[in-house]
Amino acid sequence: MMNDKNSQKIVDIIQNYARLHSLFVLAYGTGCGAIEIPPTMTSRYDAERFGIRGAATPRQADVLLITGYLTTKTLKRVIRVYEQMQDPKYVIGFGSCTINGGMYWDSYNTIKVLDKYLPVDVYINGCMPRPEAVIAGFVKLQSLIREGKAEGAKLYKDNLEQYRENQKKVIPNWVMPEYNW
Amino acid sequence: MVGSPVLFIAIPLLAAFIIPLLGMIWKESVRILPGLVLVYLLTLSINLLGYVLDNGPIIEIIAGWTPPWGINLVFSAFSGFLVTLMLFLGLLVWIYSYRFKRNVDFEPAKKYFILLMMLITGSVGIVLTGDIFNQFVFIEIVGISAYALTAFYTGRDSAEASFKYLIMGSLSAGFLLLAIVILYSQLGTLNMADIARNIHTVKPVYKITALIFFIVGLGIEAEMFPLNGWAPDVYSQAPGPVGAAFAGIVVKSGVYAIIRIVYTIFDIEGAFDFLVIIGLITLLFAETAAIKQIRMKRMLAYSSIGQMGLVLVAFGIGTEAGVFAALFLMFNHAIIKSLLFYAGSYLVFNSKEKYINDVSGLGKSMPITSFLFALGAFAIVGLPPFAGFWSKLYFLIAAADSGMIMIIALILIVSIVEIVYYFRVVNKIYFSKKEAHVVPQRPTFNALFSMIVLGLIVIIIGFFPDLITGILHDASRDLMDKTDYINNVLSITH
């Protein structure tokens, strides 16, 4: 029965439904964007009604929310956290800094294009994006999951070597466990 | 009957005088002769003891005067047992000191063995004699030889210790003489049996005063509490075997003298309670002092005093079981304390100050001596299955039967103190780091032999106490039976 394509599809639909309505978010507060997360979760914006919930560790999390600029130093940690997350997993880039470097575009230690290093599913524009924008980003992610298009993790797995090359370019001292799942 | 009790006094005394003469002819004879004498006397005493146990006491009259006028020697089960014990210990002392370090040379050896023979003469005499003045004389003989032996290692400290002993001894002699004078003035006799028969006629004031002077006079030899100040100094300054000889022989004779006087001569009930009290005080002070000692031999000396206190308490119980326990305690004390003195003096042999700390870690380099010391320590604190346990058990039973529950408690508490200081030493021997400056001294063969003999006795008596209890029972019955003693002595004719 499981090999049947249609039933697999049904399973996928159910799974995706559960996934998109239950997003455990690991908010990696790298920059000033971290301050926008608490209002998103509290009474006024109430992200919990979408099933969004904070996760304390990458092992439990579904969504990695990168809130703001990434220095090379934090990038290493973020990669580490991402690789510790279990499939299925999604990345949301948050703010201009993750998109093109923002105001740190010419800094000596801030990466400018996040999706060269990690597979970003959704970018949320703005400097800073307000909670409304954050929720919009999540809704976008949900719709991507529903459609089965949030394949960032697969992308990363398939193009691991290329990602690694990019990562190692900015992180000279690479002492991390192998990623092979 | 194979010999006369007189020989026990005559032969060693004679030997003491012959030793220098023979020494002029053949130097080695100085060493050998005492051994031969002691072996002979020991066999003799064992034979006599066997005879006595079967046939009743032997009363020997000296110079043909019958009691109560003449001097008589009494070789009963009690005194015979003590004589045998003393001679056995004397023999071991001889074996041990046959090649003892300082008496290897001729002159010291000569002096040493002369004095040792005199010491044995005196001690045996105290036990055997039936005449109080004669006893006084023997006490003086013991005293003189003991002073000299104490100062055997010529040196400032030895001399001081000897001098202390001398002062105390002289004082005691004075009191003893006073006591004898009081009794003689009241009864006109010096024979023990005779005094014992007539003592009830003496007025209590004289009687008690005499008793007090006796106790003070004899208490010094018996290491009774305030009179035992000499003991630690003497034990620590005298050579090792001499210490053992004091603990095993001299003190035994002192205790014997007191017991004979309290049990046989006087008829004062309070004396028994007094023995219990003074024994307890002795025990308490000795053991509390022992735990604070830092020198090996002083510790052993205080322990020895404490043991004698225990013996006095046991005698003070006044029942046959008490006497039995006391004799067992004396026996064990003689054996075990000798063992401890022998082993202990080898352990601190090369240490200058003889500190207990200096025995640290000697368990490896002197295994046999250390083992024997540990054995002695185990035995003397009364751990089964060693000899000390049985005597302690008998003693406690005797005390409990007399209702002395508080005293039992006190003695057991003191025993714990004893455990602490003995086990401290044993721990140091086996489980401490070796002190760098201490050179272990291999015991000579003869010393080792005597120690092993003692150790074997400790173990064998521990497993088979029945070997000794028979004799002890006879001896204690003999002491308790006062009228029998009087009758035996006074009924003797040519």
Binding site: K76, G101, Y108 | -
Partner: protein
């Protein structure tokens, strides 16, 4: 306050012959000393004058004079005064004494300066990198460090921003500020 200030200046001058004072209004006293004098003058200020608090240590890169200027800002809570102690180091060989025995917190500033300017503090023990990780090459806060070039070389750039002008140029144009030649050399 002025009296106290002058008193302090006098005392310092009396004790440290190389101390040069520059007067500022307000609660600020300013000394310039040789780098060898730094530990002793700081000790003196802390123990004798009551300047208990180290507010900051900072560094200025005088590229033109080929010198670094290290500035210690210390504060007296009693007198409500702050003292700037400046010293100049040779830019080619920037070495000076470590002062974290005087104030423990100097450690942090010194580590930062070591990484950002390459100033070596004698005897400064630090287990690992402080702010930068595995940085090799010229310390990034030196003025002759080509930040933009480095960034362009190291990091990816989002397409569509290639033609963007240097923000600094726009600003200088807008305010009419005259950019010195040496500055132009290091900007695009």
């Amino acid at each position: 306050m002025e009296e106290i200030k002058s008193k302090i200046i006098e005392r310092i001058k009396a004790n440290f012959s190389d101390a040069k004072n520059k007067s500022y209004p307000g609660d600020r006293i300013d000394f310039s000393v040789n780098k060898e004098t730094i530990p002793s003058i700081l000790f003196y200020l802390k123990d004798e004058m009551g300047f208990k608090h180290l507010s900051h240590i900072t560094c200025v890169d005088w590229l033109e004079e080929n010198e670094f200027e290290v500035i210690f800002i210390i504060w007296s809570p009693l007198e409500k005064l702050k003292v700037f102690v400046r010293t100049r180091l040779d830019r080619d060989n920037p070495v000076m004494d470590n002062i974290d025995v005087i104030w423990r917190q100097a450690h942090t500033y010194e580590r930062e300066m070591r990484e950002m300017f390459g100033i070596q503090f004698n005897g400064l023990e630090a287990p690992q990198d402080f702010l930068l990780e595995d940085w090799e090459g010229m310390p990034p806060m030196r003025r002759d460090f080509d930040t933009e070039g480095y960034a362009a070389e190291t990091f990816f750039e989002r397409p569509g921003r290639e033609d963007a002008k240097d923000v600094r140029e726009i600003l200088t144009e807008r305010s009419g500020e005259i950019v010195p030649d040496f500055a132009k050399k290091y900007s695009r």
